[in-house]
């Protein structure tokens, strides 16, 4: 592939529990959920004037969060078999990605059906949210930072405040993908500077 190639598309199996990026993102998620829950509960109890009842509640939430973490690991390991197939596409407009995991799609739709059948708005909402996350795209103009990890064959694309997508490449196409990402983001920066 040459540097001016307009598009590159590939499919890859992203490792889960043996992938430091997945582990980092998972820990970050649980950390912020714990912090948010802790702050919300503390403020609620403080306004209710019953702060002394807070520690057992926090302990219970910590146990629930621990249980969810345990399930999260088990699902990644046993249900997904420690891999998550994805397809990525890069062109001059931006980056697109979609999940190729049949199990994930099945689980998301099952969550919606179970939610509707049981009359649970939370279950239905969670399923619909998961379905909406099965694919996505990011225009180059929204990419602020590109971080490359050649040893892991991963390229991280960030907007102004967070990681939006990590491009998992194969050992064979990493160099091509990195070149195309560099070219597209440089072209976009140059275009933005010209404006």
């Amino acid at each position: 592939m040459s540097q001016d190639a307009p598009e590159l598309s590939w499919a890859v199996e992203m490792p889960l529990l043996t992938n430091r990026f997945f582990l980092y993102d998972m820990l970050k998620l649980f950390f912020w959920v714990a912090v948010l829950l802790g702050v919300l509960l503390t403020v609620t109890f403080a306004f209710g004037g019953s702060l002394k009842n807070l520690p057992p509640i926090l302990k219970m939430f910590a146990l629930i969060l621990g249980g969810i973490f345990f399930l999260f690991v088990l699902i990644s390991w046993i249900f997904f078999g420690n891999r998550f197939p994805m397809r990525f596409r890069i062109n001059s407009w931006g980056v697109g990605w979609s999940s190729l995991s049949r199990r994930s799609r099945l689980a998301n739709r099952a969550a919606v059906i179970a939610g509707v059948a049981s009359g649970s708005l939370a279950g239905t909402g969670a399923g619909l949210l998961a379905i909406s996350q099965e694919s996505g795209q990011l225009a180059w103009e929204k990419v602020q930072t590109v971080k490359k990890y050649p040893a892991e064959c991963v390229i991280t694309l960030m907007n102004s405040w967070r990681v939006v997508i990590r491009l998992f490449c194969t050992p064979e196409n990493y160099a091509d993908v990195a070149r195309l990402v560099d070219a597209c983001s440089a072209r976009n920066r140059a275009g933005a500077a010209a404006k």
């Binding site: 499919a11 890859v12 199996e13 992203m14 490792p15 529990l17 043996t18 992938n19 430091r20 582990l23 621990g66 345990f70 690991v73 088990l74 390991w77 891999r83 197939p85 190729l100 040893a151 892991e152 064959c153 194969t170 050992p171 064979e172 990493y174």
Partner: protein, 341 residues
């Protein structure tokens, strides 16, 4: 070196297991000992009482008191201690009685001076299921009683921690030893030209596996009244919790497997190191190589040797796999059709 990856994890699991066991281990029975005060009990039950508002309950209580002949304090004491007396011939019990503090004190059943009358205490408890017993002692001119409460749920008492969990100091030694072995035993390192997992992956799996295994093993020790019950009346529940905790053990063993996994490429051969064995295929013996596919996704390569052996090399999560690919490409081995993983 590879075996260290296994041994250090076994040491870690054993050390943490021993730490948890000793942390929660404690005596199945404690004795809560105090001076029996029958006079105060007598007064509480039969003495004159100043009632506030006279409701139905208070009127009934007053009537019962008026109708009951309480008898003497001696008769009351005899009634209270009937079938609950322990015979202790030793005169040292009087000294012990006088040394008792005003509040109740806790003793282990194997602790002196109770160790000498342990069979009596246990027989009396098993025979009568009464948790209160008395030892009569001669205190000067009168007969006093040592009151003993047989506590077979020690964790629910207010006994001091040193008595409830006497091995906690020793437990730390096991944990420190396990961590020392885990961190000091040399691990496998990735050399240039080889493909291996990032060091973070096995470390994270170790942490998660240890957390899960320790939590469920610890939970089985936490919910019982004493560690004796783990292999006794609560064995079924313990077994269930350990089975769930086994997920953690498997994670740790998986970590050992991936920590010792290496694919090394030299100018003449490919060598695959796993936890238990090493396979080497010289390029001259390779008959063909091709991609491993799952669905339509390439997930690695396979190498087939002239004697029919096939080595599958999954590249997901491996660092430095490009060096292995470069070595294989330079060897100009015949390309085969893609093969399912």
């Amino acid at each position: 070196m590879k075996i260290f990856e296994f041994l250090r994890r076994i040491a870690l699991l054993l050390g943490v297991g021993c730490f948890l066991w000793l942390w929660f281990a404690g005596p199945p029975v404690l004795l809560e000992v105090s001076r029996a005060d029958f006079a105060a009990q007598y007064e509480r039950q039969y003495g004159k009482r100043q009632y506030g508002l006279m409701g139905v309950m208070e009127l009934g209580d007053k009537l019962i008191r008026e109708q009951t002949n309480p008898g003497s304090l001696e008769a009351f004491t005899a009634r209270q201690t009937q079938h609950k007396l322990l015979t202790a011939g030793d005169s040292n019990w009087a000294v012990f009685y006088r040394s008792l503090p005003a509040q109740a004190a806790f003793y282990g059943i194997d602790q002196p001076p109770f160790a000498a009358i342990r069979p009596q205490i246990q027989t009396l408890f098993l025979r009568s299921q009464m948790a209160v017993m008395y030892i009569p002692v001669v205190d000067g001119s009168r007969t006093a009683h040592i009151e003993i409460h047989y506590r077979n749920r020690p964790r629910e008492t207010k006994a001091p921690t040193q008595l409830l969990y006497p091995y906690r100091l020793r437990a730390w030694l096991w944990l420190a030893g396990a961590l020392l072995v885990y961190f000091l035993l040399p691990g496998m390192r990735r050399s240039g030209g080889s493909a291996a997992y990032s060091r973070i992956a096995p470390l994270a799996l170790d942490a998660m596996g240890l957390l899960f295994a320790a939590f469920f093993f610890g939970l089985s020790l936490y919910v019982v009244n004493s560690t004796d019950e783990v292999f006794g009346s609560e064995f079924g529940m313990s077994l269930f919790l350990w089975a769930v905790g086994c997920a953690g053990l498997i994670l740790v063993m998986w970590a050992a497997k991936i920590a010792s996994y290496r694919i090394m490429a030299s100018s003449s051969a490919i060598c695959v190191d796993t936890l238990w064995r090493r396979r080497e295929i010289p390029f001259s013996e390779m008959s063909e190589i091709g991609y491993l596919v799952r669905g339509d996704i390439r997930i690695g390569i396979f190498v087939r040797s002239r004697d029919g052996r096939t080595i599958k090399l999954d590249w997901a999560g491996l660092l430095g796999f490009d060096a292995v690919l470069a070595a294989i490409n330079s060897a100009q081995v015949r390309r085969a059709e893609d093969a399912p993983a």
